[in-house]
Amino acid sequence: MEEPLGLASPGDTYSLRPAFRHRFRSSIVKECIHAILKENLANVQYNPEETPQLTRSLSDAIKDRLKEEGFHRYKMVVQVVIGEQRGEGVNMAARCFWDADTDNYAQDVFMNDSLFCVVAAFGCFYY
């Protein structure tokens, strides 16, 4: 039995694409990340004992913040890299195999005198 087109019915509510306002928008996510980094790393010195714990707690904090933002039906991956600044060369790259229409990423870098921090947050839509 075909339902007439254009009439909303309880069965037609599963969407396979997010609405624009529900997309994983890079700009919004980057602002969230930037705020958290500024708050947590402003005057922190690199410390081999404490930095591992700091890295973990930062990634959890960012993930929780993104969950609060309300990206419905998005699976999220947040990766945080913190390194000591000693003049060494570092290079970081990422590639993704996903649906470019629905999925996106955001990244931010924070530096102070003793450390640098790179955060990459990826969001993949769950169909």
């Binding site: 930095t51 969950k67 999220m76 991956v77 570092v90």
Partner: protein, 156 residues
């Protein structure tokens, strides 16, 4: 009933071309007339035909190791080439992962750092389905540099 859920039940109406290979091997068509057929194609394990839908860490770990060895195997750190190296490690890993043909979206990241006595820490936090999704991180080093590659697989 109704409302958006992670629902396996209320799948209806027109299905967009998302390029999935269905249980029968045919691409998902743009017109789906029956709820159950769409559910079967997106979630084959509910229909009886078994499909490998979990992330296998060992397999991915081997793929990553081969890609790293192939790209930077016997080389010393060179600032002019490191950009090209990270790109090729990541691209090689990703192309091998996609050749596995599993219904996953992949994210691969690579960090190459010169050995200088400095410390480096990475952490990742993920919001996903633990039963089907997974990640694999490989740490590799030689005399002049460290290379850390992480691959995340998220089931569709």
């Amino acid at each position: 009933m109704g409302g958006v859920g992670w629902g396996r039940e209320a799948l209806t109406g027109c299905c967009h071309r998302i390029g999935l290979r269905g249980a029968s091997g045919a691409f998902l068509s743009t017109r789906v007339s029956h709820n159950a057929r769409l559910r079967l194609l997106l979630r084959p394990e509910t229909g009886g035909e078994q499909c490998k839908t979990s992330f296998v860490v060992d397999e991915v770990s081997n793929i990553i190791k081969e890609a790293v060895e192939g790209a930077i195997g016997g080389n010393a750190y060179q600032h002019s080439k490191v950009n090209q190296w990270t790109t090729s490690v990541v691209e090689q890993t990703l192309s091998q992962l996609t050749k596995l043909g599993k219904p996953f979206k992949y994210i691969v990241t690579c960090v190459i750092m010169q050995k200088n006595g400095a410390g480096l820490h990475t952490a990742s936090s993920c919001f996903w389905d633990n039963t089907s999704d997974g990640n694999c991180t490989v740490r590799w080093e030689n005399k002049t540099m460290y290379c850390i590659v992480s691959a995340f697989g998220l089931a569709i």
